[in-house]
Assembly symmetry: C2
Homo-oligomer: 332 residues x 2
Amino acid sequence: MDREATLHDVAGKVGVSPRTVSRVVNDEGGYSPETRKKVLAAIEELRYRPNMVARALITKRSGTVGLVGGDMTDPFFPALAEGIQHRAREAGQTMFFASTGSDPDRQAEVLRSFWARAVDGVIVFPALDSIDQLTDYGRRGLPIVVVDDLVEAPNVACVLFDLPEGGRLAAQHLLSAGRRRMGVISATVSPPRRRHRERGFVAALTEADGDHLPAVIAEADPTVRGGEAGFAELLSLMPDLDGIFAYNDLVAIGAMRAAAASGRRVPEDIAVVGCDDIEMSTYITPALTTIRLDRGRLSNEAVAALHDLIDAPAQRRQPVVLPVELVARESA
Amino acid sequence: MDREATLHDVAGKVGVSPRTVSRVVNDEGGYSPETRKKVLAAIEELRYRPNMVARALITKRSGTVGLVGGDMTDPFFPALAEGIQHRAREAGQTMFFASTGSDPDRQAEVLRSFWARAVDGVIVFPALDSIDQLTDYGRRGLPIVVVDDLVEAPNVACVLFDLPEGGRLAAQHLLSAGRRRMGVISATVSPPRRRHRERGFVAALTEADGDHLPAVIAEADPTVRGGEAGFAELLSLMPDLDGIFAYNDLVAIGAMRAAAASGRRVPEDIAVVGCDDIEMSTYITPALTTIRLDRGRLSNEAVAALHDLIDAPAQRRQPVVLPVELVARESA
DNA sequence: AACGTTGGCGTCAACGTTGACGCCAACGTT
DNA sequence: AACGTTGGCGTCAACGTTGACGCCAACGTT
């Protein structure tokens, strides 16, 4: 438990200046092959590791990225965090993680703490009404990748799924299964400007021919329990409901449970389409028909966009839009 | 996007030395109320935030904790990470996260990177055969909380669930439901020294009176697919199997699926008990009987143990053992 | 032979803090 | 009146790096 070795210790051992050791450590060049060999040997022997804190203080690069999520217990999230963490590690970076519960104040606190720790960039699942915060940090020079929203600001890049298309696919699937009286369960954590799924769904219904009714819309927490409540709300708006498009798979599962509890069969009486394609959706009975969002793809694109932003700030870039697909199983 | 304000800027504005501003920022005392007020006003106006990197360089405290997990996509994990992150944030700390896939080399890499970034401590779900690593870092002065294993070393504290009791509860439940030919699906990622569930289960069977057979044991990945494979393996060892205790709920779900696919009914033909009590277990059909591990409790205890260790290193402490309970649902 | 270039270093200062120490005026104590 | 204490600061150095710069010997060029 003695002190960690520093550049100075290595330099002393080899008989060169710390600056030369630093050059070797960073592969800067400007040293002879023999010096290099001796330095590397001393590094090995003393188990020297560069102190990232000291390095960060002067370079303003800490080798860290922050992930700001809504709620880790949302089953959509872990695979994403895992992917992002992987990619970041491949780039030699370590990942901070914090969740906001979609609360803008907590998001502000999280961003402050990340910023004070000199993160090189952050990937954010924005909390409610927090665009100004993000714009502000972008202007102050923090590279930010925003997921699932469009933010126009310096140092901000956007990566989103084509959720309107997801809504359209869900609507078409339900329509072609003969459903005529449909409801959407939206999420309270999703502000109006981010209701892309819902917009796509409603638009597809509006555009389609046929005798179907316009969709009714309920709002709920994005959880199984929320789905149960959302189902009840939809039912009160349209008692003979025959199709549901849910904000995510958890909500869809909740809706299916509530449907079963009310004596309705899924999909015979009510067809249900979810969104996300979490693992559970395959294992549930009936297996859930859903809009698949490719989380591996999202992780890759988000990290790539962030590194882009870090390497070449100031440059404008187009939002990255990721395709979605409908996975037909048993529930619709 | 101009430079961030520093102590120096605040000091200049107020007309005191940076050291005095630092004293105010850290509530050290040694300044007059009027000075304090002026300093706070200037801090507000300049939007000054202490630079944690500079602070960490000299205090050797970075205000960060690291969480080293096996795999974020294991549904047991997110609630835990969420809880830990919460508690850490309450203490003003930011959380690093990295997963190892239970690979000791990756764990080594993760610990190196955390250490280089001066984490104040880490909470580790140890990878296979990685106790020496942990002992080593403990000796070098890193406070470590190890989950679900016993490690005797300086700066290392242990928090574990009473898994032997979990195994015992599962065995008793299956026995009292009349099961006589039982199998255990263990996990490949769990080294022999950490097979507490299995030991408890087998011990309870051995101790119990009756005409039941000794348990057969299969090994599998701790996933649904693993559970399916584990079921097949158990069946090949004991074709008329009537009870299963699975490493975790995912494995139990896999076993139930394989049982159904083979035409067996759960629980009538084969009773299945899982372990963890993940959310999905309530929603699956049949709902899973399982050993509940209280993850909120684990988060709290782990963070508390870590802060204990950080505040008073060197001191010996007892492992914290958390109780478990059996939740009877439909599958057994 | 005189010159410019370059390889291989070293020196110094700085990043933004805090620990250690010192100083002085104001005050209380004897 | 002389003294010790304490409140309220300031100064300086250090944490472990890297950027900027300079220096010198060795070499190639004309």
